[in-house]
């Protein structure tokens, strides 16, 4: 088990009139090499939870174990932990601060105290991994990049630490459709080519349904469901109850089913839904033909 969370609780503004508990006993397991999606309505505690996974928060109630080491006992080695678990925040491009792409990506590896040539090697491979040609982009000024490019530079900045786990907090927020596609493709590639364990937090069910092996649903500070996207999205009623809504395709298919169409409701993509409906037509046609 790579990451194990047990009974984790968290309150913001503890001891003030604004105290606000957001996590109420979260249990979570993540295996090496998994591609996990973390979804939940706003205020469900997703962003808080992921900050526990790389030691930005230290558990007061509950435990977090990463790679066999309890985060509470790892206090002096938090940097090691952060290197192991890379966290890409929402709007990560806002954290860029250097003039050029190469310098900014080098910030992480330099913090690790690596020698110059190793830093350079890591910068190049991180840029390549996010689909930016190092030769072209290394010396570009950051302000001259597009929004999607900036975001990929920021992701490269975390990748350059050579983490085993990458956590993305809503990585497609605020991007145009093309930017979204590029980021999603990048994440998919990182998972398959670099053997990274990926935790993907998203508000877009459509994005997540296509990408992950397993979905974890967080609501009101607890994990309420975990399973393959198909399993989770088949719980139409439960998903509606927690205010998550469901995939548009699942929505359409379940309405068709209500009207007596013999279709499976768990189509995760438009293509799948299309095939399902066509199959239904074919069945109907051949049935009528026989009569």
């Amino acid at each position: 088990m790579l990451i194990k969370v047990r009974g984790l609780e968290h309150s913001y503004m503890e001891g003030t009139p604004f105290e606000n508990q957001v996590l109420y006993g979260v249990d979570l397991d993540i295996e090496e090499g998994e591609m996990v999606g973390l979804i939940g309505p706003t205020q469900s505690g997703k962003s808080t939870l992921i900050q526990y996974l790389n030691g930005l928060f230290i558990p007061k109630i509950g435990e977090v174990v990463v790679d066999g080491i309890d985060v509470r006992e790892q206090r002096s080695r938090l940097r090691k932990l952060r290197q192991k678990v890379g966290l890409v925040f929402q709007y990560p491009e806002h954290q860029l601060f250097e003039e050029t792409v190469g310098k900014d990506v080098a910030f992480g590896p330099k913090n690790l105290g690596l020698p110059e040539d190793e830093v350079r090697r890591r910068v190049d491979s991180a840029l390549e991994a996010v689909g930016l040609d190092p030769e072209v982009f290394r010396d570009r000024y950051i302000f001259a990049l597009s929004g999607g490019q900036k975001r990929r530079v920021a992701i490269a900045g975390v990748l350059a630490l050579n983490p085993r786990v990458m956590i993305f907090d809503d990585p497609t927020a605020g991007l145009d459709p093309r930017g979204r596609e590029e980021i999603l493709a990048t994440i998919k590639k990182l998972h398959s080519e670099q053997d990274l364990t990926v935790i993907f937090v998203s508000n877009s069910l459509e994005d997540i349904a296509r990408l992950v092996d397993r979905l974890i649903v967080l609501a009101q500070g607890k994990v309420i469901m975990s399973g393959t996207p198909r399993e989770v999205f088949s719980q139409v009623k439960k998903m509606r109850e927690i205010g998550m809504g469901i995939l548009q395709t699942v929505d359409v298919m379940s309405r068709l089913r209500d009207r007596g169409w013999d279709v499976a409701t768990t189509a995760l993509t438009v293509e799948e839904a299309c095939d399902e409906i066509l199959a239904c037509f074919r069945k109907k046609a051949s049935g009528e033909g026989r009569e």
């Binding site: 001891g15 003030t16 928060f57 940097r79 925040f89 954290q95 910030f107 630490l161």
Partner: protein, 278 residues
Amino acid sequence: MELSKDITLGQYVPRDSVIHRLDPRTKIVLWMVLITVLFFIHTYTGYLVFALFILWVTHLAEIPVLYALRGLKPAIPFIIVLFIIQLLFSGSLFADSPNVVFQWGFVRITTDAIRTYSLIMIRVVLLFLSVTILTLATSLVGLTDGMENLLSIGRRIGIPANELAMVMVIALRFVPTLVDELEKIMKAQMARGALIDEGNFIQRTKQKIPILIPLLMSTFRRAEDLIVAMEARCYRGGKGRTKRRQLRLTALDYRAIGITAGFLVFLMAFIRLVPPPW
């Protein structure tokens, strides 16, 4: 890591207390008077009486005292260091004081110095607490309206009341926002292995750059957003603008003014009766 927990400046605790219900103008004026008076107190007992009054107001405002004092927490190291430096290097100011506690070279600590600087520290704490209570118990809208109304007296001599009030309120309003932003940026850089507050002075200063630059940029981004939002709502200052919520002094305000006046008279008498050093 959670920075916002210790920042009380610019926060507002919504309650329905008598203090909350006071006209903001009453609060601002009384608060200014109290703060002025604070600078005329030179005895421990005087400060004690003042502190009791402020604590009573805090209690009336239904604000936990510990929360109000919380904002002081980040400043405690500065206050202590300042206190020590003053004690160590102000020997010459108290050269004629006979009550020497400790002397070593030019370091000369006298009871008079200890007294003077202790009083200053107490004053700083009380000043902070008073300001905090005002902002914790007054909504931003109230604060703006009150300030604008009070400043409008000077409109004839060209004081842009609305604009000044707006500037002050925006500044206050953005304290919590920028604290959140700062926290996010610090965390993002820590996630990239950044060190914070480690090593010698030069290293520490260098460690601030990856945090300050993004913070500066986001401040400008927010400022620009705010400008656009104000323009979109046709903001053009206070000229010709009327208010839906008219400020009106009520019996509660007169009572507050009376009580504060009574307290000040008592305080003055008390200071006379209990002369220094206590």
